[in-house]
Amino acid sequence: MPATTDPPALTAPELRELYRLMAATRALDTAAVAWQRQGAIPGFAPQLGQEAAQVGSGFVVDRRRDFAFPTYRELGVARAMGVDMVGYMATHKALWHGGLYDPAQSRFAPVQAVVAGSVLHAVGWAHGQTLAGHDGVALSYFGDGASSQGDVHEAMNFAGVLRAPVVFFVQNNGWAISVPTERQVAGGSVAARAAGYGIVSERVDGNDVVAVVEATRRAFAQARSGGGPVLIEAMTYRRGPHSTSDDPGRYRSLEDERRDAGTDPLERLAQQLLRTGAADQAFLEEARSAAAADAEQVRTKLAALGPRPGREMFEFVYQEPTGALKSQAAAWRVESEHV
């Protein structure tokens, strides 16, 4: 990393806030898997084990000026950025692909199901800040698997050439569905790629939320001050299945998981809080029960959300709908709504 002044260390209230956010993420994530098993939602991609990487990085975003570009697995980032969780979970209830939160106002782009689909968007948005004379930073999320896509390379090259204020935040969770990083990422490190584009990069322990926050703050400081793009590779582990329809037993053993997953990031932060006196047991319990209550509330509200009306299929295709589409909507109304 370049010689930017290190941001101040995390305060005890900040650490406690991080714990609250991580606990809330964990609770909602775990609950969502259960909801899928109960048939309440058709599918879910758990981020179990990636709470530190997600919450730690999302925590740094300044919602007045920055913008985050998630994949389909960024529950913790969304939570840390204050995205409406019911609107977020709506994508997993198959109500609306991009979710039902307002992405423009949340500064959190719609859920993105194309692997690597949004990395270039982040670069374009970031360059827009330069053109407009703003100091916003784009935060681009992608995985170890996504790093294989040509778009990621084009994005890093564009960012390097344009010195765009973008932070590439790679969660290397060891797996892309069934393919482990060593058969995915030639050379073994996404961070190592950055140098080839003149981009500074840092590998960070993605299960250590403090390390993640600090690295992300350094990266934002550099990008914001015109120092160009930064890449962070947060080393973490996908503790759950790829998605609720995945069966990890086919490609890794429970023993592999135990060996490779390391310490649970949530547990790790709990221990640290206790050790440093930043929080006590009562706080942890309170945070966990608040998290559980929070998840329960999301469940209730999500359950109450009915399907979107079919006419919305037609309404959001264009800002200026075509006559042809209006006719199709009318025909649909007659034939399917029987009105």
Partner: protein, 348 residues
């Protein structure tokens, strides 16, 4: 199987003795077809995302890596253009690649390699570098999946010079069409109707003659109107025909199978009998393959047609989220309305 045993692409092993017909799901039929292809064609290789250890997200390649080795059935990094571009090179080296794209919507990143390379290398090289590539694409909607997991790309593929395109509608069709496609010296896009993967049907493994694999197929005969469909829509049209029969309407269901080349003769033969046609597909209406089918039928049957060919299709909107997909995919009602329109059409 060691790597050097596939040293001589082109050698062909004997087909296994045909087994008695058995009940298989389409996923199992495809798996069996791949196994038989790998067993009989030493130049065949299967590649794609998660096709190895996992056996594919739909398990179509289940067990193949264990049986044929990691040299012939291998996981690639997560990059579709890479998978298809690599397949071009493998074909140039004498192999018969069977790449998988995990879902329809992820064929888009590979369009450049598919259109400009796979479709054109034989032409560019004046026939000296053929592209015997069978690209398997789990296709169409109906499984309440995330965005980009329910797309219908047949109109795009059918427009591309140099490609052939086929889509099976039953386990039996799946087995035979995949084997037929994989034995071709030309590139074939093989569109698997993913919502039908788990439906069972009788599958006979003895090879049927090439004729049995070509052209369209009358899935149900009828005399009042021809319903033209492919992939998952064939089953739905058969349901519609069943319902229509209750009202005395005899619907002929034509399973188009080949989307390129289209079976112009089979289409014309059916419509000449029924004098009315409705084409059904999941893809959006505008510039969908239904337009080509309608144009073809009209060109050949202009005099016999009693009504313009109806198109019952997906709308000109992005494939919607699971909760709305039943509103998007042509449903029984909408197909019945289409039939009604061609039956009630009166020249003005």
């Amino acid at each position: 199987m060691s790597e050097t045993t596939i040293a001589a692409p082109g050698r062909t092993g004997a087909d296994p003795e045909p087994a008695a017909p058995r009940q298989l799901s389409m996923q199992q039929a495809l798996n069996l077809a791949l196994a038989d292809i790998l067993a009989t064609d030493p130049a065949a290789v299967v590649l794609g995302e998660d096709v190895g250890t996992l056996g594919g997200v739909f398990r179509v390649t289940d067990g193949l890596q264990g049986r044929f080795g990691a040299a012939r059935v291998f996981d690639t990094p997560l990059a579709e253009s890479g998978i298809l571009g690599m397949s071009v090179g493998l074909a140039m080296a004498g192999f018969h690649p069977l790449p998988e794209v995990q879902f329809d919507g992820f064929a888009y990143p590979a369009v450049n390699q598919i259109v400009c390379q796979i479709g054109r290398m034989n032409y560019r090289s004046r026939g000296t570098l053929p592209m015997p590539i069978t690209l398997r694409v789990p296709s169409f909607g109906g499984i309440r999946a995330p965005e980009h997991h329910g797309e219908s790309l047949e109109a795009l593929f059918a427009h591309v010079p140099g490609l052939k395109v086929v889509s099976p509608s039953t386990p039996e069709e799946a087995y035979h069409l995949l084997r037929y496609a994989a034995a071709r010296p030309d590139p074939v896009i093989f569109m698997e109707p993913k919502s039908r993967y788990w439906q069972k049907g009788e599958v006979s493994t003895g090879r049927r003659g090439a004729d049995g694999d070509l052209g369209s197929r009358v899935a149900r005969p009828g005399k009042h109107v021809t319903l033209i469909a492919w992939g998952a829509m064939v089953a739905r049209c058969l349901q519609v025909a069943e319902l229509a029969a209750e009202d005395g309407i005899e619907v002929e269901v034509l399973d188009l199978r080949w989307l390129k080349p289209l079976d112009a003769e089979g289409l014309a033969a059916s419509v000449r009998r029924t004098r009315r046609a409705v084409v059904v597909h999941e893809a959006p209406l505008t510039s969908g393959l239904g337009a080509e089918v309608a144009a073809l039928v009209t060109e050949r049957c202009f005099d016999t047609l009693r009504a313009p060919v109806e198109r019952v299709t997906g709308f000109d909107v992005p494939y919607p989220s699971g909760d709305l997909e039943d509103e998007y995919i042509p449903n029984i009602d909408r197909i019945l309305f289409g039939i009604q329109r061609v039956l009630e059409y009166r020249r003005g």
